[in-house]
Protein backbone atom coordinates (compact mmCIF):
# COMPACT_ATOMS: atom_id res chain seq x y z
CA UNK A 1 0.00 0.00 0.00
CA UNK A 2 2.37 2.68 1.16
CA UNK A 3 5.58 1.36 -0.26
CA UNK A 4 5.02 2.87 -3.66
CA UNK A 5 7.52 5.70 -3.50
CA UNK A 6 9.98 3.92 -1.30
CA UNK A 7 10.21 0.63 -3.09
CA UNK A 8 13.93 1.14 -3.24
CA UNK A 9 14.40 0.40 0.43
CA UNK A 10 11.68 -1.96 1.58
CA UNK A 11 12.34 -5.47 2.77
CA UNK A 12 9.82 -8.05 3.83
CA UNK A 13 10.49 -10.46 6.65
CA UNK A 14 7.61 -10.32 9.02
CA UNK A 15 7.73 -13.92 10.13
CA UNK A 16 9.50 -13.28 13.40
CA UNK A 17 7.20 -10.58 14.60
CA UNK A 18 4.17 -12.62 15.42
CA UNK A 19 3.11 -13.31 18.94
CA UNK A 20 0.64 -15.72 20.44
CA UNK A 21 -2.53 -13.70 19.92
CA UNK A 22 -1.88 -12.74 16.34
CA UNK A 23 -1.29 -16.33 15.37
CA UNK A 24 -5.03 -16.86 15.29
CA UNK A 25 -5.22 -14.32 12.51
CA UNK A 26 -3.70 -17.00 10.32
CA UNK A 27 -6.67 -18.45 8.42
CA UNK A 28 -5.71 -22.07 8.97
CA UNK A 29 -5.29 -21.66 12.73
CA UNK A 30 -8.43 -19.59 12.91
CA UNK A 31 -10.43 -22.37 11.28
CA UNK A 32 -9.14 -24.92 13.75
CA UNK A 33 -9.81 -22.80 16.83
CA UNK A 34 -13.17 -21.38 15.76
CA UNK A 35 -14.38 -24.87 14.90
CA UNK A 36 -13.78 -25.93 18.49
CA UNK A 37 -15.21 -22.81 20.09
CA UNK A 38 -18.33 -22.54 17.97
CA UNK A 39 -20.52 -25.18 19.69
CA UNK A 40 -19.86 -23.61 23.09
CA UNK A 41 -20.74 -20.15 21.86
CA UNK A 42 -23.95 -21.48 20.34
CA UNK A 43 -24.87 -23.16 23.64
CA UNK A 44 -24.17 -20.02 25.67
CA UNK A 45 -26.16 -17.94 23.22
CA UNK A 46 -29.15 -20.27 23.54
CA UNK A 47 -28.84 -20.18 27.34
CA UNK A 48 -29.05 -16.39 27.50
CA UNK A 49 -31.09 -15.29 24.52
CA UNK A 50 -34.01 -17.68 24.87
CA UNK A 51 -34.57 -17.23 28.65
CA UNK A 52 -34.01 -13.49 28.31
CA UNK A 53 -36.68 -13.12 25.64
CA UNK A 54 -39.18 -15.49 27.31
CA UNK A 55 -38.72 -13.74 30.65
CA UNK A 56 -39.11 -10.36 29.00
CA UNK A 57 -42.14 -11.25 26.88
CA UNK A 58 -44.16 -13.40 29.26
CA UNK A 59 -43.06 -12.79 32.82
CA UNK A 60 -42.88 -9.05 33.20
CA UNK A 61 -45.90 -7.06 34.44
CA UNK A 62 -47.71 -4.84 31.97
CA UNK A 63 -46.81 -1.23 32.47
CA UNK A 64 -49.78 1.00 33.26
CA UNK A 65 -49.25 3.61 30.59
CA UNK A 66 -47.35 1.53 28.04
CA UNK A 67 -49.44 -1.61 27.66
CA UNK A 68 -48.14 -4.76 26.03
CA UNK A 69 -46.22 -2.92 23.37
CA UNK A 70 -43.47 -2.07 25.82
CA UNK A 71 -42.23 -5.64 25.48
CA UNK A 72 -40.76 -4.85 22.12
CA UNK A 73 -37.83 -3.26 23.94
CA UNK A 74 -36.45 -6.75 24.50
CA UNK A 75 -35.71 -6.86 20.81
CA UNK A 76 -35.41 -3.17 20.09
CA UNK A 77 -32.79 -2.17 22.65
CA UNK A 78 -30.46 -5.17 22.15
CA UNK A 79 -30.54 -4.86 18.36
CA UNK A 80 -29.88 -1.12 18.54
CA UNK A 81 -26.94 -1.72 20.88
CA UNK A 82 -25.52 -4.34 18.55
CA UNK A 83 -26.04 -2.16 15.47
CA UNK A 84 -23.60 0.41 16.82
CA UNK A 85 -21.15 -2.01 18.40
CA UNK A 86 -20.87 -4.06 15.23
CA UNK A 87 -19.83 -0.96 13.30
CA UNK A 88 -17.18 -0.26 15.96
CA UNK A 89 -15.98 -3.84 15.65
CA UNK A 90 -15.77 -3.44 11.87
CA UNK A 91 -13.73 -0.28 12.34
CA UNK A 92 -11.27 -2.11 14.59
CA UNK A 93 -10.90 -5.12 12.30
CA UNK A 94 -10.51 -2.82 9.28
CA UNK A 95 -7.69 -0.99 11.04
CA UNK A 96 -6.03 -4.30 11.91
CA UNK A 97 -6.20 -5.31 8.24
CA UNK A 98 -4.78 -1.99 7.06
CA UNK A 99 -1.97 -1.96 9.62
CA UNK A 100 -1.03 -5.61 10.12
CA UNK A 101 -2.69 -7.22 7.09
CA UNK A 102 -4.28 -10.15 8.85
CA UNK A 103 -6.57 -11.91 6.44
CA UNK A 104 -9.10 -13.13 8.98
CA UNK A 105 -9.51 -9.58 10.23
CA UNK A 106 -10.62 -8.31 6.84
CA UNK A 107 -12.98 -11.23 6.36
CA UNK A 108 -14.46 -10.74 9.84
CA UNK A 109 -15.32 -7.15 8.94
CA UNK A 110 -16.98 -8.35 5.76
CA UNK A 111 -18.87 -11.05 7.66
CA UNK A 112 -20.03 -8.60 10.34
CA UNK A 113 -21.49 -6.06 7.92
CA UNK A 114 -24.61 -7.99 6.97
CA UNK A 115 -25.32 -8.83 10.62
CA UNK A 116 -24.87 -5.18 11.57
CA UNK A 117 -27.15 -4.04 8.80
CA UNK A 118 -29.81 -6.53 9.85
CA UNK A 119 -29.57 -5.37 13.47
CA UNK A 120 -29.94 -1.77 12.32
CA UNK A 121 -32.97 -2.72 10.27
CA UNK A 122 -34.52 -4.62 13.20
CA UNK A 123 -33.93 -1.62 15.46
CA UNK A 124 -35.57 0.70 12.93
CA UNK A 125 -38.58 -1.54 12.32
CA UNK A 126 -39.23 -2.37 15.98
CA UNK A 127 -38.79 1.32 16.73
CA UNK A 128 -41.46 2.18 14.18
CA UNK A 129 -43.79 -0.55 15.44
CA UNK A 130 -43.35 0.68 18.98
CA UNK A 131 -43.56 4.33 18.00
CA UNK A 132 -47.01 3.99 16.48
CA UNK A 133 -48.94 3.23 19.74
CA UNK A 134 -46.59 5.37 21.86
CA UNK A 135 -46.42 8.60 19.89
CA UNK A 136 -49.02 8.03 17.22
CA UNK A 137 -46.50 7.98 14.40
CA UNK A 138 -44.34 5.38 12.72
CA UNK A 139 -41.54 7.75 12.03
CA UNK A 140 -40.28 10.95 13.59
CA UNK A 141 -37.11 12.75 12.60
CA UNK A 142 -35.91 12.31 16.12
CA UNK A 143 -32.10 12.56 16.34
CA UNK A 144 -31.70 9.00 17.48
CA UNK A 145 -33.96 7.49 14.82
CA UNK A 146 -32.33 9.62 12.16
CA UNK A 147 -28.87 8.51 13.26
CA UNK A 148 -29.88 4.89 12.84
CA UNK A 149 -31.21 5.58 9.38
CA UNK A 150 -27.86 7.16 8.50
CA UNK A 151 -26.01 4.21 10.01
CA UNK A 152 -28.11 1.95 7.81
CA UNK A 153 -26.96 3.92 4.75
CA UNK A 154 -23.34 3.50 5.80
CA UNK A 155 -23.80 -0.25 6.11
CA UNK A 156 -25.40 -0.31 2.66
CA UNK A 157 -22.52 1.57 1.05
CA UNK A 158 -19.92 -0.60 2.77
CA UNK A 159 -21.54 -3.82 1.60
CA UNK A 160 -22.12 -2.50 -1.90
CA UNK A 161 -18.42 -1.72 -2.22
CA UNK A 162 -17.49 -5.25 -1.09
CA UNK A 163 -19.89 -6.69 -3.62
CA UNK A 164 -18.65 -4.54 -6.50
CA UNK A 165 -14.94 -5.37 -6.40
CA UNK A 166 -13.74 -8.65 -7.82
CA UNK A 167 -10.25 -9.00 -6.37
CA UNK A 168 -10.75 -9.92 -2.68
CA UNK A 169 -7.64 -8.16 -1.39
CA UNK A 170 -8.41 -4.99 -3.31
CA UNK A 171 -11.92 -5.13 -1.89
CA UNK A 172 -10.57 -5.60 1.64
CA UNK A 173 -8.26 -2.61 1.26
CA UNK A 174 -10.85 -0.27 -0.21
CA UNK A 175 -13.67 -1.22 2.15
CA UNK A 176 -11.31 -0.79 5.11
CA UNK A 177 -10.41 2.72 3.98
CA UNK A 178 -14.11 3.44 3.50
CA UNK A 179 -14.91 2.08 6.95
CA UNK A 180 -12.32 4.32 8.62
CA UNK A 181 -13.37 7.45 6.75
CA UNK A 182 -17.04 6.52 7.08
CA UNK A 183 -16.70 6.17 10.85
CA UNK A 184 -15.49 9.73 11.16
CA UNK A 185 -18.38 10.99 9.04
CA UNK A 186 -20.89 8.78 10.86
CA UNK A 187 -19.79 10.35 14.14
CA UNK A 188 -20.03 13.82 12.61
CA UNK A 189 -23.51 12.97 11.34
CA UNK A 190 -24.53 11.95 14.84
CA UNK A 191 -23.56 15.38 16.18
CA UNK A 192 -25.02 17.15 13.18
CA UNK A 193 -28.35 15.37 13.60
CA UNK A 194 -28.52 16.22 17.30
CA UNK A 195 -27.82 19.79 16.45
CA UNK A 196 -30.28 19.88 13.57
CA UNK A 197 -33.39 18.78 15.40
CA UNK A 198 -33.04 21.15 18.32
CA UNK A 199 -32.59 23.90 15.78
CA UNK A 200 -35.32 26.30 14.82
CA UNK A 201 -38.11 23.82 14.18
CA UNK A 202 -38.75 22.76 17.75
CA UNK A 203 -41.97 21.02 16.66
CA UNK A 204 -42.43 17.53 18.03
CA UNK A 205 -40.32 17.09 21.12
CA UNK A 206 -40.57 13.35 21.49
CA UNK A 207 -38.25 11.95 24.07
CA UNK A 208 -37.07 8.53 23.06
CA UNK A 209 -35.12 7.86 26.23
CA UNK A 210 -36.56 4.50 27.08
CA UNK A 211 -34.09 3.72 29.79
CA UNK A 212 -35.42 6.44 32.06
CA UNK A 213 -38.75 4.72 32.34
CA UNK A 214 -37.46 1.24 32.86
CA UNK A 215 -37.57 -0.12 36.38
CA UNK A 216 -35.74 -3.16 37.74
CA UNK A 217 -38.44 -5.65 36.86
CA UNK A 218 -37.95 -4.82 33.21
CA UNK A 219 -34.24 -4.14 33.42
CA UNK A 220 -33.01 -7.59 34.47
CA UNK A 221 -34.44 -9.56 31.51
CA UNK A 222 -33.28 -6.75 29.27
CA UNK A 223 -29.66 -7.22 30.35
CA UNK A 224 -30.00 -10.95 29.70
CA UNK A 225 -31.44 -10.26 26.25
CA UNK A 226 -28.61 -7.85 25.44
CA UNK A 227 -26.02 -10.47 26.41
CA UNK A 228 -27.96 -13.00 24.34
CA UNK A 229 -27.91 -10.72 21.29
CA UNK A 230 -24.18 -10.19 21.78
CA UNK A 231 -23.59 -13.94 21.79
CA UNK A 232 -25.91 -14.34 18.81
CA UNK A 233 -23.69 -11.88 16.97
CA UNK A 234 -20.55 -13.81 17.94
CA UNK A 235 -22.15 -17.04 16.76
CA UNK A 236 -23.24 -15.61 13.42
CA UNK A 237 -19.91 -13.82 13.02
CA UNK A 238 -17.93 -17.03 13.53
CA UNK A 239 -20.12 -18.95 11.11
CA UNK A 240 -19.98 -16.24 8.47
CA UNK A 241 -16.25 -15.66 8.85
CA UNK A 242 -15.66 -19.39 8.49
CA UNK A 243 -17.72 -19.30 5.31
CA UNK A 244 -15.68 -16.39 4.01
CA UNK A 245 -12.41 -18.16 4.79
CA UNK A 246 -13.65 -21.22 2.94
CA UNK A 247 -14.72 -19.05 0.02
CA UNK A 248 -11.24 -17.53 -0.16
CA UNK A 249 -9.73 -20.98 0.10
CA UNK A 250 -11.78 -22.09 -2.88
CA UNK A 251 -10.67 -18.98 -4.74
CA UNK A 252 -7.05 -19.80 -3.91
CA UNK A 253 -7.38 -23.37 -5.08
CA UNK A 254 -8.97 -22.31 -8.36
CA UNK A 255 -6.26 -19.70 -8.91
CA UNK A 256 -3.64 -22.38 -8.39
CA UNK A 257 -5.43 -24.69 -10.81
CA UNK A 258 -5.37 -21.99 -13.45
CA UNK A 259 -1.65 -21.49 -12.94
CA UNK A 260 -0.95 -25.20 -13.19
CA UNK A 261 -2.81 -25.27 -16.49
CA UNK A 262 -1.06 -22.25 -17.90
Amino acid sequence: MSQMKTNGTQTRSFGQRMNALWEYANPVKFMALSGKVLPWVIALCALTLIPGLIWGFFFTPEAANFGNSVKIIYVHVPSATMAINIWVMMLITSLIWLIRRHHVSALAAKAAALIGMTMTLIALITGAVWGQPMWGTYWAWDPRLTSFLILFLFYLGYMALWAAIENPDTAADLTSVLCVVGSVFALLSRYAVNFWNQGLHQGASLSMDKEEHVSNVYWQPLVLAIIGFGLLFVTLLLIRTRTEVRRRRLHALMARERMMDA
Binding site: G157, A164, D173, L174, L178, V181, F185, S189, Y191, A192
Partner: protein, 218 residues
Protein backbone atom coordinates in the same frame (compact mmCIF):
# COMPACT_ATOMS: atom_id res chain seq x y z
CA UNK B 1 1.22 21.06 -9.73
CA UNK B 2 -0.02 24.21 -11.46
CA UNK B 3 0.39 22.46 -14.80
CA UNK B 4 -1.95 19.72 -13.58
CA UNK B 5 -4.51 22.24 -12.37
CA UNK B 6 -4.43 24.09 -15.68
CA UNK B 7 -4.70 20.85 -17.64
CA UNK B 8 -7.66 19.59 -15.63
CA UNK B 9 -9.49 22.89 -15.97
CA UNK B 10 -8.74 23.05 -19.68
CA UNK B 11 -10.05 19.51 -20.14
CA UNK B 12 -13.20 20.32 -18.20
CA UNK B 13 -13.85 23.40 -20.31
CA UNK B 14 -13.20 21.64 -23.61
CA UNK B 15 -15.09 18.49 -22.75
CA UNK B 16 -18.22 20.29 -23.85
CA UNK B 17 -20.78 20.60 -21.11
CA UNK B 18 -18.63 19.48 -18.21
CA UNK B 19 -18.57 23.06 -17.04
CA UNK B 20 -22.11 24.19 -17.76
CA UNK B 21 -23.86 20.89 -17.16
CA UNK B 22 -23.74 21.12 -13.37
CA UNK B 23 -25.15 24.62 -13.44
CA UNK B 24 -27.93 23.62 -15.82
CA UNK B 25 -28.80 20.67 -13.61
CA UNK B 26 -28.87 22.97 -10.59
CA UNK B 27 -31.26 25.31 -12.40
CA UNK B 28 -33.53 22.42 -13.34
CA UNK B 29 -33.72 21.17 -9.75
CA UNK B 30 -34.59 24.65 -8.54
CA UNK B 31 -37.23 24.95 -11.27
CA UNK B 32 -38.81 21.59 -10.56
CA UNK B 33 -39.28 22.04 -6.81
CA UNK B 34 -41.99 24.71 -7.04
CA UNK B 35 -43.89 22.44 -9.46
CA UNK B 36 -43.82 19.82 -6.76
CA UNK B 37 -44.65 21.87 -3.69
CA UNK B 38 -46.74 24.65 -5.22
CA UNK B 39 -46.02 28.29 -5.93
CA UNK B 40 -46.71 29.61 -2.42
CA UNK B 41 -43.99 32.22 -1.87
CA UNK B 42 -43.85 31.73 1.88
CA UNK B 43 -43.33 27.98 1.70
CA UNK B 44 -40.73 28.35 -1.05
CA UNK B 45 -38.82 30.97 0.90
CA UNK B 46 -38.77 28.72 3.94
CA UNK B 47 -37.44 25.67 2.13
CA UNK B 48 -35.15 27.65 -0.18
CA UNK B 49 -31.87 27.07 1.71
CA UNK B 50 -32.50 23.34 1.89
CA UNK B 51 -33.45 23.07 -1.78
CA UNK B 52 -30.47 25.14 -2.91
CA UNK B 53 -28.14 23.02 -0.77
CA UNK B 54 -29.55 19.71 -1.98
CA UNK B 55 -29.51 20.96 -5.57
CA UNK B 56 -25.87 22.05 -5.28
CA UNK B 57 -24.97 18.73 -3.75
CA UNK B 58 -26.59 16.72 -6.53
CA UNK B 59 -25.11 18.94 -9.22
CA UNK B 60 -21.71 18.40 -7.64
CA UNK B 61 -22.23 14.65 -7.70
CA UNK B 62 -22.83 14.63 -11.46
CA UNK B 63 -19.26 15.28 -12.50
CA UNK B 64 -17.42 13.41 -9.74
CA UNK B 65 -16.68 10.29 -11.76
CA UNK B 66 -14.71 12.40 -14.24
CA UNK B 67 -12.12 13.28 -11.60
CA UNK B 68 -10.09 10.08 -12.00
CA UNK B 69 -11.99 7.79 -14.38
CA UNK B 70 -10.79 9.27 -17.68
CA UNK B 71 -7.19 9.49 -16.49
CA UNK B 72 -7.43 5.91 -15.29
CA UNK B 73 -8.76 4.65 -18.61
CA UNK B 74 -6.24 6.37 -20.88
CA UNK B 75 -3.25 5.49 -18.70
CA UNK B 76 -2.53 9.05 -17.52
CA UNK B 77 -3.06 8.04 -13.91
CA UNK B 78 -0.24 5.46 -14.12
CA UNK B 79 2.04 8.12 -15.52
CA UNK B 80 0.97 10.68 -12.94
CA UNK B 81 1.53 8.16 -10.15
CA UNK B 82 5.14 7.72 -11.27
CA UNK B 83 5.67 11.47 -11.72
CA UNK B 84 7.44 13.66 -9.16
CA UNK B 85 4.13 14.95 -7.79
CA UNK B 86 3.04 12.92 -4.75
CA UNK B 87 -0.26 11.14 -5.28
CA UNK B 88 -1.77 13.04 -2.35
CA UNK B 89 -0.94 16.29 -4.16
CA UNK B 90 -2.50 14.97 -7.36
CA UNK B 91 -5.72 14.18 -5.48
CA UNK B 92 -5.81 17.61 -3.85
CA UNK B 93 -5.17 19.41 -7.14
CA UNK B 94 -7.82 17.40 -8.96
CA UNK B 95 -10.34 18.11 -6.21
CA UNK B 96 -9.46 21.80 -6.45
CA UNK B 97 -9.95 21.71 -10.22
CA UNK B 98 -13.31 20.02 -9.71
CA UNK B 99 -14.34 22.70 -7.23
CA UNK B 100 -13.27 25.51 -9.54
CA UNK B 101 -15.40 24.18 -12.40
CA UNK B 102 -18.44 23.05 -10.37
CA UNK B 103 -18.51 24.18 -6.72
CA UNK B 104 -17.48 27.76 -7.37
CA UNK B 105 -19.94 28.38 -10.25
CA UNK B 106 -22.72 26.83 -8.13
CA UNK B 107 -21.84 29.14 -5.28
CA UNK B 108 -21.87 32.18 -7.54
CA UNK B 109 -25.15 31.14 -9.18
CA UNK B 110 -26.98 30.16 -5.99
CA UNK B 111 -28.06 33.70 -5.04
CA UNK B 112 -29.57 34.20 -8.52
CA UNK B 113 -31.35 30.87 -8.50
CA UNK B 114 -32.42 31.77 -4.95
CA UNK B 115 -34.52 34.56 -6.42
CA UNK B 116 -36.64 31.87 -8.07
CA UNK B 117 -37.26 30.46 -4.62
CA UNK B 118 -38.33 33.83 -3.19
CA UNK B 119 -35.19 34.12 -1.16
CA UNK B 120 -35.04 37.59 0.29
CA UNK B 121 -32.99 40.04 2.30
CA UNK B 122 -29.91 38.54 3.85
CA UNK B 123 -30.76 35.14 2.35
CA UNK B 124 -28.66 35.81 -0.74
CA UNK B 125 -25.49 36.50 1.17
CA UNK B 126 -26.11 33.57 3.55
CA UNK B 127 -26.50 31.15 0.65
CA UNK B 128 -23.32 32.51 -0.90
CA UNK B 129 -21.29 32.24 2.31
CA UNK B 130 -22.46 28.77 3.32
CA UNK B 131 -21.94 27.33 -0.16
CA UNK B 132 -18.55 29.00 -0.47
CA UNK B 133 -17.40 27.38 2.76
CA UNK B 134 -19.19 24.07 2.17
CA UNK B 135 -18.71 23.14 -1.48
CA UNK B 136 -14.92 22.55 -1.22
CA UNK B 137 -15.72 19.70 1.19
CA UNK B 138 -18.17 18.29 -1.39
CA UNK B 139 -15.44 18.19 -4.04
CA UNK B 140 -12.88 16.69 -1.67
CA UNK B 141 -15.22 14.01 -0.32
CA UNK B 142 -16.28 13.34 -3.89
CA UNK B 143 -12.66 12.87 -4.95
CA UNK B 144 -12.32 10.29 -2.21
CA UNK B 145 -15.41 8.45 -3.46
CA UNK B 146 -14.12 8.65 -7.03
CA UNK B 147 -10.77 7.21 -5.93
CA UNK B 148 -12.51 4.27 -4.27
CA UNK B 149 -14.54 3.38 -7.36
CA UNK B 150 -12.08 4.29 -10.12
CA UNK B 151 -11.29 0.69 -11.03
CA UNK B 152 -14.93 -0.31 -11.47
CA UNK B 153 -16.62 -0.50 -14.84
CA UNK B 154 -19.83 1.20 -13.83
CA UNK B 155 -18.85 2.83 -10.58
CA UNK B 156 -21.06 5.92 -10.94
CA UNK B 157 -24.13 4.65 -9.13
CA UNK B 158 -22.08 2.93 -6.44
CA UNK B 159 -20.12 6.12 -5.93
CA UNK B 160 -23.34 8.06 -5.26
CA UNK B 161 -24.26 5.47 -2.64
CA UNK B 162 -20.87 5.88 -0.98
CA UNK B 163 -20.53 9.64 -1.26
CA UNK B 164 -24.01 10.89 -0.39
CA UNK B 165 -23.99 9.64 3.24
CA UNK B 166 -20.62 11.34 3.67
CA UNK B 167 -22.26 14.60 2.53
CA UNK B 168 -24.81 14.52 5.35
CA UNK B 169 -22.86 16.53 7.98
CA UNK B 170 -21.94 19.27 5.52
CA UNK B 171 -25.51 19.43 4.26
CA UNK B 172 -27.02 19.62 7.74
CA UNK B 173 -24.68 22.30 9.02
CA UNK B 174 -24.71 24.25 5.76
CA UNK B 175 -28.48 24.39 5.37
CA UNK B 176 -28.91 25.01 9.10
CA UNK B 177 -26.46 27.93 9.05
CA UNK B 178 -28.25 29.48 6.09
CA UNK B 179 -31.69 29.00 7.67
CA UNK B 180 -30.61 30.44 11.00
CA UNK B 181 -28.78 33.33 9.41
CA UNK B 182 -31.80 34.28 7.30
CA UNK B 183 -34.09 34.15 10.32
CA UNK B 184 -31.78 36.51 12.16
CA UNK B 185 -30.50 33.97 14.66
CA UNK B 186 -26.89 33.39 15.58
CA UNK B 187 -25.49 31.05 12.94
CA UNK B 188 -21.91 30.89 14.15
CA UNK B 189 -22.05 27.35 15.53
CA UNK B 190 -23.22 25.52 12.38
CA UNK B 191 -21.10 27.78 10.19
CA UNK B 192 -17.97 26.94 12.18
CA UNK B 193 -18.80 23.24 12.24
CA UNK B 194 -19.23 23.23 8.47
CA UNK B 195 -16.00 25.16 7.93
CA UNK B 196 -14.30 22.68 10.26
CA UNK B 197 -15.56 19.74 8.21
CA UNK B 198 -14.30 21.43 5.04
CA UNK B 199 -10.89 22.13 6.57
CA UNK B 200 -10.61 18.62 7.99
CA UNK B 201 -11.62 17.03 4.67
CA UNK B 202 -9.05 19.05 2.74
CA UNK B 203 -6.33 18.21 5.27
CA UNK B 204 -6.95 14.47 5.65
CA UNK B 205 -8.95 13.04 2.75
CA UNK B 206 -6.15 13.42 0.15
CA UNK B 207 -4.25 10.77 2.11
CA UNK B 208 -7.21 8.38 2.20
CA UNK B 209 -7.97 8.99 -1.47
CA UNK B 210 -4.33 8.50 -2.48
CA UNK B 211 -4.13 5.18 -0.66
CA UNK B 212 -7.33 4.08 -2.39
CA UNK B 213 -5.86 5.09 -5.77
CA UNK B 214 -2.68 3.10 -5.08
CA UNK B 215 -4.79 0.04 -4.35
CA UNK B 216 -6.73 0.55 -7.56
CA UNK B 217 -3.61 1.02 -9.69
CA UNK B 218 -1.79 -2.07 -8.62
Amino acid sequence: MIALLIRDMRLAMRAGGGFGLGLAFFLIVVTLVPFGVGPDAEILARIAPGILWVGALLACLLSLDRIFQLDFEDGSLDLLATSPIPLEGIVAIKALAHWLVTGLPLTLAAPFFGALMHLEGSGFSWMFVTLLLGTPALSMIGAFGAALTVGLKRGGLLMSLLVLPLYIPSLIFGAEAATRGMAGFNANAPLLMMAGITAGSIALLPFAAASALRVNLR
